[in-house]
Every structure is written in C-alpha cells, then in structure tokens.
C-alpha cells in the first residue's frame, strides 16, 4: 500500500501518456483502415521507417535533435505556469540571426563562428519568447496567443530578410542568406551520420532537468508556476521569474534554429520553418512538461516523422499521413490530461446501494 502510494505519481506520469499513445494508435488504425490500407502493414512500416535500421535510426535522431529543443521551449515556460506555443517563430528568428552572425564573423576561426551563431540564435529566440512573457505580466496579454502571434511575425521577418535585404544573389530557386561556409558547419558526432546538435539538445534538456529538480532555481520556478500569490508572499519577484522562464524556453527554440542553419541548411532559408516548433508542443505535452522525458519523446516523434517517407514510397500514402497520426496523438494526450490524480478513483469506486437503486430504476 505504502509502495503503491509512493510510486503512484510515477505510474501516473508514465502510464497515462503511454495509454494515450496506445489509444491514439488505435484511432489511427481506424483511419488507416477507412482509407483502405492495412493498419498492421502501416504500423510495421512506421516501425521500420523509424527504428528498423541504422539508416532509419539516424534519420530519426536527425529529426529528434531540433524537437528536443523546441519541446523545451514549451516545457520550461510551463514550469512557471505558461502555455507557450510560439517555438516555431523563435526557431525561425534564431536561424535568421545565426546566419547574420555567421556573415559578421566571417574570417574568424570556425569555433568562434559556431559559438557566435549558437549564442546569437539562442539570445534572439529567448528575447522573442521572453517578450510574450513580458506582455503577459505587464500588459495582460495571454501568453499563448501572444507567443503564437509573435511567431507569425518572426516567420514573416525571416521570409522578408531571406527574400529581400539578406538574399544571396546566387540562391535562385530557393532564396537564402549567404552560405555560412563549409568550414563553419557543425560536424557529425563520431561514428554517426548525426550532427552535434543532438548532443547540444540532450545536454540542454539534462541541465534543465537537473536545475529544476535539484536547485533552488527550480524550487522557486515551481512555486511561481504553482501559485504566484504565494510566491509573492515568499518574496519572489514573480514578474522576473515569468519573463526569465519564457526567455529560457525561447532560447532553446532559438538554439534549434541556429543548429538547423549551422549543421543542416548551411544558410537561413524557408526550409528551417518545417514544423519543428509546432511538433515541439506535442513533444512537451507527451513528456508532461518534464525536460528529461522530452528526450525520449522527441526521439519517438522524430521517428514518426522519419517514417513518413517510407509510407509514401511503399504504400503510396501521402506524407501528411504521419501528421494525421501526430494530430490524433495530440488530441488524445490533451484529453487524457484530465485523468491525472484519478487513477485511484477508477480502482476504488464503490457502488453504493443507493446509487445502485437509482441506476436500476432508470
């Protein structure tokens, strides 16, 4: 009894999302069957495309790298009680600034260029999401809507500069900024075809997790997020904490954008706006805003994304199929949030004679 009580939170934290994932799979199977495909075959291909071979693993991890960071862009502000969904914009802005930083630092040693790109990207993404935290605290603007609208502005800014003032005349088909140069690209992890961005993301997540769980900073943040009034009574400056948490989240997304430029695209262009910011929302919700859990969940969602190509090639199903699956997962996950703290109820619900009589009557 004592044991179950002690582990109930953990069982809940893992059990509910896993159950929700299974339910979502079931619903997806229904959808697949309805469009005339075999659900079993689709699931097998999904698995193969995501984790079936070393090639698909690398593809999966390549997609997981930015997802870890965009997941953190949601999970960190969530600790302070915010629902931030503007990671896509912070990512776009991070990509843009990192490209600008790269051209400004041309000629410096590659490590300096890379450091400058990553720092400026993180800073800019942080300021952008920090702005939606500021708007919430000082101007009463809902941070969810604020961050989403700021996100649209950021993506528009990226497009404006990439197709306008910062356009590299050599990029004809796909307007881009000037390439950062092959020498300045971030390389791959030893023995893998996956860039260092994955490691950066994982370190960011782990450090965040440690700070939240073991330090006074995490304690204060949880207090601010749980009850701002109590935090004020304890002498914490709530406004600073809220804006700070938004900044930290935004810097993760901005870093993701910088890494996409420095490790994948080689220049800022519209390709970095590939939905990683929005998929990050899904990652954070499945991980229940736990920065540590963000890592495996990002791998899972990255895998589902990676398998899209396989479905297209083998079954001639459109790429959007995996987006349908993601959408179903998101809805089921959000719906399952209400089950928190109710697992006990399900087990112990007594049937009273009175309510039995009532149900017999009707």
């Amino acid at each position: 009894m004592e044991l179950t009580r002690r582990f109930l939170p953990l069982v809940e934290a893992v059990g509910i999302p896993v159950m929700a994932l299974l339910v979502a799979m079931l619903l997806f199977a229904g959808f697949v069957a309805a469009v005339g495909q075999s659900p079993l075959e689709v699931f097998v291909l999904l698995y193969k495309g995501a984790f079936g071979s070393s090639f698909s693993w690398q593809n999966t991890l390549l997609r997981a790298a930015p997802l870890i960071l965009t997941g953190l862009a949601v999970a960190i502000p969530a600790q302070a009680g915010m629902v931030i969904i503007g990671g896509e914009g912070a990512l776009a802005l991070g990509a843009l600034t990192s490209a600008v930083a790269a051209s400004a630092l041309q000629g410096a040693s590659p490590h300096w260029v890379q450091a400058g790109m990553l720092l400026s990207g993180a800073l800019c993404g942080g300021v952008w999401i920090g702005l939606s935290g500021w708007l919430r605290q000082y101007r009463g603007v809902n941070e969810t809507i604020g961050s989403l609208l700021l996100s649209y502005i950021a993506i528009a800014l990226l497009n404006f500069f990439v197709e306008g003032p910062l356009k590299d005349p050599a990029s004809l088909n796909k307007p881009s900024t000037a390439p950062i140069g092959d020498a300045n690209m971030i390389g791959n992890l030893p023995g893998m075809d996956v860039h260092y961005g994955l490691l950066f993301g994982a370190i960011f997540a782990l450090v965040t997790w440690v700070i939240l769980k073991f330090t006074t900073v995490g304690f204060a943040l949880k207090t601010v997020g749980g009850n701002p009034r109590a935090a004020q009574m304890a002498g914490l400056r709530v406004n600073y904490w809220i804006v700070g948490a938004a900044f930290a989240g935004g810097s993760a997304a901005g870093l993701a954008g910088a890494i996409e430029v420095a490790a994948v695209q080689g220049a800022a262009n519209a390709s970095v706006v590939a939905g990683y910011g929005y998929a990050g929302i899904l990652v954070a919700f499945i991980a229940r805003q736990n920065p540590f859990a963000v890592i495996p969940v990002a791998v899972l969602i990255g895998g589902i994304n990676a398998a899209g190509g396989m479905l297209q090639r083998r079954l001639d199903m459109p790429d959007a199929t995996v987006l349908v699956l993601q959408g179903i997962i998101f809805v089921v996950i959000i719906a399952s949030e209400t089950l928190n703290g109710r697992l006990r109820l399900i087990k112990f619900k007594p049937l009273s004679p009175v309510s039995a009589a009532i149900s017999a009557k009707t």
């Binding site: 073991f214 006074t216 207090t223 749980g226 009850n227 002498g235 400056r237 112990f348 009273s352 004679p353």
Partner: protein, 522 residues
C-alpha cells in the same frame, strides 16, 4: 419509496428527519450512522471540529453526494435525493462559506439566473418589477445593478442568502455563512433567517464555529465528532461548555492560552512604520488612501474594520502581493517592499487569510510548502543545491510539533483540511525567530481548538518580542489579543485606542464610518 416528483408541492417550513446516514470515501468513513430531526420552523445548529463530517452530511442532503446508507424524510415522507435538482425541488437550498455568484453578472442577473428554466427571451421589465417587490420585503439594501464581483464579502453573502429566499426555499442549509461577515452583518443575516423560521416559513440548519451565533439564534444543537453523532440538546438549556465538551470528547482546558497581562509595551522605536500608504484595488480605484500606523516590538496592533475597507489591500501590500502607489513602509527604519532579502534581514513572516490561496502552492507537496520560507538557506540548500533530506526532516519536525494531520509530507497540500493547511502554514511562519508578523483573519473557518492554538502562538510570538500586525474582522479576537486597536474605514485609519480602554460601541461607531460625521462637525 416515492420519487421526488410525487411529493406534493408545499410551501412554508418543512420538517426534516435523517435516519442512520453513512458515507464512505474509499477507506475513509466520513459519516457513520448519523440521525437528526428538525421540526418545521426549527433553527438547528450542527457543530463539530474540522473534519467531523458536517459538510459531508449536508452535501448528502443537497444531493452533491449520495449517502451510502440512511433515509431522509421530508414532512414524514421518505424521499430520495440523488442530485441537487431533487433537493431543489424539495425546497432545500444551501448557502456556502464560499461564494457561488457569477462575478461578472449583476446582482439582479444572478438572482434571475438562479431560478433556472429561463425563457429564451427574458422580460427584464417584468423581472425587475418582481425583484423590486421582493427586495422591498427585506431589511437588506443590496445594489441590484452592481456586478457581483465588485461586492465586499459581507454583501456577497447577503446576496447568497437573498438568492435562496428568492427561490422560495423551505429548508435553508447555511455552511459557516458568517465567517466573512462582521458581527453586525452576521446578526442582520441570521436575524432575518431566524425571523422567517419563527414565522414557520423556513427551517434552518446551520453549520458554524461561533457559539455566540448558536446561543443567539439556534433552538437545538447536534454535535458530530469524527463522523459520528456525539450528542444533541435544546437551547437555551445546553451550555457552551457542554457543547464544547461534546465536540472534543473531553472537558476542554479553558486556559490553553493563558493571556499574559497587558504588559506595557516598551517605549522603543517602532519596528513597522507605515506613513501615508496609498494603493489601488484590482479595478484601479484607490483602496488605501493614506494609511498611517506603527507597531513596536512586543506589541500586537489589531486592525478592526468592516470587510472591504482596505484591510485586505493593506495586508497584500505588506506581503508583497500588491504594489503601493504612494507613501512609505519602513521596517526597522529601512524601506520595505516585501522582497526576499528584506524578509530575511528583518525576519518578517506572515499569516495571510485563506492560506491555501495566499500562502501555499496547492499542487505541491506538504514538505515543499513547508520549505517556502527557507528553501534557499542552509541547511535546506547549499550553493543553490537543495537537500531533499533536510527538507523532509524539517517537514517531519513541523508535522509533529504542530500536529498537522496529513497522509504524509509528500501529499499535495490541497488534500489537507483547512485547519491542517493553516497548521502547516503556522509551522512554517512561526518556527523561526520572528521580528515582524503580518496576520490576517488567522482563524477563519477553524474549529475552536485550532483557534485557541493559533491565538496562543500569536501571543507567544508577541511575548518573544515580535511586532504583530493583526487584521481581523472578528472584534472579539482583537479585544482578546491586541494591545492596541486601530479602526480602518474607507482606506484610512480613523481611530486608535489602547485595547484595555477599548469600548465596543465606540469601535463600532468608527467601523460604521462614524469618523465622517466627526470630520464634518470639525
């Protein structure tokens, strides 16, 4: 057993009988074989400590819970109350400790909406006429067109009672209805309900912790203890001591907190000095209009006042929950704005009202909440790293010393009863040396054992040299504890007197805005 619809609609007070009612929640027996009888027009008080099962009983009665066992008879007919709608059809209504008005709607809209089954098109002209006629029969004056959210607590509670009367209830259940009212407001509200009971228009079942109200209004008492029937009796034969004894199960030591004599407070510089303090309310209107006061070490300054005269804002400014718009707050001669550094430096602690809302993080554990004051100081934390072991050790110590009833220190604090949340906060705020203590309505909704304990701890802090600012809407509490009493009215301190010279009628005069006449005369 007759379904509810078959009971003939009736008016006037109803007769209520409960037989052998039991209710379990999982392994917890909340209510065990409780019986109760109230004749038509009775004014029955239900007493018991926190967690004695009073709320469970009435929630079964109004259909929020379904009792596991037991029979309810209304006018000697057995009825089944499966949901609040059934209770409402029987004419059973309830007024809660917490408010159920829609804050954004006006009082009139709240009353009309409460009727339920409204037509798609509301004839407001007709409704207003009906409301005005109804209001004319009441001794209260309530502004019908004000949004309910803008009313003070006392006014809101009156509207809650009026709403029930408007719905023509035959049995009114009052769950600690006066915990947010001044004694005068309470007398007004309960007097009205009592008159209706005497005229056999209404039967009343009241849950309260205030013996004054029981002896003044009730004609019979039932006492619950740990979910069981612990005794009953008729008034005025039953004495307060007797009722108290039934509640706790043994004769209560009257001197739990021996009041030390009013030792003269040393003539030292004030620890808290507030000068011309101004602040705005939530809607941008001034709620503090130049408050001046000072509290010296070893002194309790009581702030009296009718709710809604700025006391709440004063406490919020002092606890850092509201910004000031003017004036100065000095603690030990230094400007104070409630930041953590200043709190640590000056050893400032506080017991705000509604501790779960103002002083706790409901979703976090008891241990976490108990560490809110010193989570960043040794031994709980070193170099920014928190020691879970030290935190748990402190929490276990607090639970033991302050007798906090909790399933464990890892339980979320919102799962604790109100009295135990308060104990947890008391433990956190009073386990360290205190120089300045900000207290607001500290015994709101507590049973009298917890009240005595809280009062004893406040006095102990004072005797240990703390300066205590005690804001309370309970005048008796101030008269019992304070060394000096100041009256707050309309955002100012309008009167101040040493407690031993305090005259209740004079205080009441100023609480009711008497200073305005004086000003005019001058």
């Amino acid at each position: 057993m007759k379904p509810v619809e078959m009971v003939a609609p009736a008016t006037g007070a109803l007769e209520l009988e409960i037989m052998g009612m039991s209710k379990r929640f999982g392994d917890v027996v909340a209510l065990d074989d409780v019986s109760l009888h109230i004749p038509a027009g009775g004014f029955h008080a239900l007493l018991g400590e926190n967690g004695a099962g009073k709320s469970t009983l009435v929630k079964c009665l109004v259909g929020f819970y379904t009792a596991d066992q037991g029979t309810v008879l209304v006018d000697n007919r057995e009825v089944q109350i499966a949901n609040p709608k059934d209770a409402s059809q029987l004419g059973i209504g309830m007024v809660y400790q917490h408010f159920t008005l829609v804050p954004s709607m006006t009082v009139a809209e709240n009353l009309v909406v409460a009727r339920g089954a409204l037509p798609a098109f509301i004839n407001w002209h007709e409704e207003r006429a009906r409301l005005s006629d109804f209001m004319a029969t009441l001794p209260f004056k309530i502004p019908l067109d004000k949004p309910a959210g803008s009313l003070a607590a006392g006014e809101k509670q009156k509207v809650e009672i009026i709403k029930q009367l408007y719905l023509q209830r035959r049995l009114l259940i009052l769950d600690e209805p006066t915990s947010v009212l001044t004694p005068d407001e309470a007398d007004e509200a309960l007097g009205l309900v009592g008159d209706l009971a005497r005229q056999k228009l209404l039967t009343v079942l009241i849950i309260t912790h205030k013996f004054r109200e029981v002896t003044a209004y009730a004609d019979a008492v039932t006492v619950l203890r740990r979910g069981r029937f612990a005794g009953s009796g008729a008034l005025p034969e039953l004495t307060i001591e007797h009722m108290a004894e039934m509640m706790v199960g043994s004769p209560v030591a009257q001197d739990v907190a021996p009041r030390t004599q009013h030792t003269p407070v040393a003539d030292v510089p004030p620890r808290l000095l507030i000068d011309q303090l101004c602040a705005q309310g939530d809607h941008g209107l001034p709620v503090l209009r130049g408050v001046n006061l000072s509290v010296r070490p070893g002194e309790i300054l009581g702030i009296a006042g009718v709710s809604g005269n700025g006391q709440k804002a004063l406490v919020e400014v002092l606890t850092g929950q509201r910004g000031k718009t003017g004036g100065t707050v000095l603690v030990n001669g230094l400007p104070y704005s409630g930041r953590r550094k200043e709190q640590t430096l000056n050893k400032v602690y506080s017991l705000p009202e509604e501790p779960l809302r103002n002083a706790c993080v409901a979703s976090l554990s008891v241990a976490h909440n108990m560490s809110l004051r010193n989570y960043d100081k040794p031994p709980l934390a070193r170099w920014g790293w928190i020691s879970q072991r030290a935190m748990r050790k402190q929490a276990n110590g607090y639970v033991e010393t302050f007798r906090v009833k909790t399933p464990g220190i890892d339980a979320r604090i919102q799962t604790l009863s109100g009295g135990n949340v308060q104990r947890a906060v008391l433990a956190r705020e009073l386990s360290h040396p205190v120089e300045l203590l900000i207290v607001a309505n500290p015994v709101f909704g507590l049973d009298f054992n917890a009240v005595a304990e809280t009062h004893a701890r406040l006095l102990a802090a004072r005797n240990a040299g703390a300066a205590v600012l005690l804001v309370s809407e309970d005048l008796d509490e101030l008269l019992e504890l304070a060394d000096r009493i100041a009256v707050m009215s309309d955002g100012r301190i309008v009167f101040e007197t040493p407690a031993e010279k305090a005259d209740v009628r004079e205080l009441g005069h100023y609480m009711a805005g008497g200073h305005e006449e004086t000003e005019v005369m001058q």
